[in-house]
Symmetry: C2
């Protein structure tokens, strides 16, 4: 099938297209121009492989590319250096050379692990993202952030490494559990909050259909989300400044994920609770009013998301976990806060007492 939408991420010699539409997964014609060598490795996980791996493999067979596959265990707790090393071992054992292509088929975890392996195998091989979850379609597959977790912090090891293309098949969302669709909607709502009040309005109108999995509306939501992300990444690929606004709710969220143990809260769920905390602090700072909180809570709840952190994380534990965030500079925690609905900024002159009040609340 032809993609419904094609969006170009403009990064000079690292530019690439994002294809959005239905039944794209097994499309040999889409893959063909992005494969340069004679072999490819499909990296997937135990949940996604039984559903979609055969379609991608068949497309590679059509093109005449030697392929093999590696199926990883599913879940954020497996996003480790050990998984990356498993891929590297597999590539070497099967004589994949520098022109080989790694195809990530799955959610954000598979994309982050496989993308990082592609970044460091023989100092970089071709890489294609085939995200099968809403969260990875709207966020992690776009922009070139790859990497794994360290016991002391999330995404602490990795590289900026852009794919050759992203193939976002909306059809794959039909098999996504409701909880994971919701987790993806957290990032979709984020784009409204940080950059696009009109999109936030649109989400308020269509949230029920999105939760119900209506494909055309999901494709529209993926398109608008990727367009915003691409725009920000084009301006600041390596996160010197602006790009950090994409992390609204993430500093709080990463702390929640680390405190709860990777994999117990979904990333999108932690981000949802984290965004509510960022909104709380922004209100305490006097930058936005209660109306933003009211609308955000309502939208997140309709999306099936938590709107508060889990009980039992102490303020000191939060501060400690937040201090290892990559945005921290010289020990000072920097946060993404809101100046208005649709306008986020990176802030390091908030009132620390107000942050503690937010954490305690």
């Amino acid at each position: 099938m032809q993609p419904t939408h094609t969006l170009d991420v403009d990064l000079g010699d690292r530019s690439y297209p994002i294809y959005i539409g239905s039944q794209l997964l097994g499309d040999a014609g889409l893959l063909r121009p992005h494969l340069h060598g004679s072999s490819a490795l499909i990296v997937s996980n135990q949940t996604v492989a039984p559903l979609y791996l055969d379609a991608v493999a068949a497309a590679l067979d059509t093109i005449g590319v030697r392929r093999d596959q590696l199926v990883l265990p599913d879940g954020e707790q497996h996003k480790t250096m050990a998984a990356v090393e498993q891929i590297l071992d597999h590539l070497l054992e099967n004589r994949h050379d520098r022109r080989s292509t790694i195809i990530a088929l799955g959610g954000g975890v598979v994309g982050d692990i496989a993308g990082f392996a592609a970044a460091i195998y023989q100092r970089g091989v071709n890489f294609i993202q085939v995200p099968t979850t809403l969260l990875s379609q709207v966020d992690s597959s776009v922009g070139g952030k790859t990497g794994v977790n360290h016991p002391m912090g999330k995404n602490m090891i990795g590289a900026f490494y852009q794919p050759q293309c992203v193939i976002a098949d909306i059809g794959s969302l039909a098999t996504l559990p409701a909880r994971e669709l919701s987790a993806g909607l957290a990032e979709v709502i984020k784009y409204g909050l940080i950059h696009d009040a009109a999109f936030f309005d649109w989400l308020e109108q269509h949230m029920d259909e999105l939760v119900a999995g209506e494909p055309e509306l999901l494709a529209e939501a993926v398109l608008v989300s990727c367009r915003t992300k691409a725009k920000v990444v084009e301006l600041d690929e390596r996160e010197a400044g602006l790009r950090a606004i994409l992390n609204l709710g993430h500093t709080f969220g990463h702390a929640i994920e680390t405190a709860m143990g990777y994999g117990n809260w979904l990333h999108g769920e932690a981000v949802a609770a984290g965004m509510v905390m960022a909104i709380d602090l922004s209100i305490r700072q006097g930058w936005i009013d209660e109306d933003v909180r009211r609308r955000s809570l309502a939208l997140l709840e309709r999306a099936g998301l938590p709107v508060a952190p889990p009980p039992g994380i102490r303020v000191e534990q939060f501060l400690d976990l937040m201090a290892v965030d990559k945005k921290a500079v010289d020990g000072q925690i920097r946060l993404v806060l809101l100046r208005a609905l649709g306008e986020a900024f990176v802030c390091d002159d908030y009132d620390p007492a107000k942050l503690e009040a937010t954490l305690a609340a």
Copy 2:
């Protein structure tokens, strides 16, 4: 001390200077403009640290940068992912943030490991090369190749990652064992062979003084070598083609290193024997004459280098080890060969029977 020579590597927004001279190691003024955050980690090895670590540490203290240090075991056999992970753990445990700087103080192994750690810690932190061996001053510290070995092949895991600057203190060569000075001279001679026949002549005139460690001539040899390397890297940073000529003798050499076990033959020694093999094959192909071999053997021997591989590596073993070389495309071994003294090229249409004759010889 002011550097005797400053050479700029021009790579757009990844450009950086190479400082060459005496007593540069402890120069706070040289370091200052290249440090951006408030902390730094010095990575060194057990041989170099007792000699030079205090000088670098004192320079950081002068600038007021919080520093700590990590001393790794010495030797190519320690150039592993485990060493990289040790650095990453240390960085996290000591709360180094994204603005921290990693300073590699030592030879090529330290530079490759520490540079790769800098490339992947928090998706990339600042990195400074302070090479203390001739081999690392003329080769590995320049051009941004970082990485580690895998049991199945040398430098199979890594990244292209450019430093902020390179500080090549010729004074540190005074403490270098003769065998390691010779290993460095192998790469120096390589620049003559691949690109610069006049430099080869100059080396023939001055080899005895270079082996004796004469600082001004060593500085000149480092400058000319780095200038050639910089020129090639500027034209082809990520080794799409031309850059591969820097690997004259390396495909043979890597096979020797792997067959002998990392650390038993020095890299420069394996490259010396490998260059002789590349010359042998180039002669069998009819591209160069015996005179090149005669002059090269004489120069390598005066530099204290081996001119043949160790006995006992079978032809099939050589071919097998060479097939995992990163230059291999679709299973075909590509080699850097000579068209003339001073002119190397990447070749994949040599006669396989002649390659086997070279390996058997």
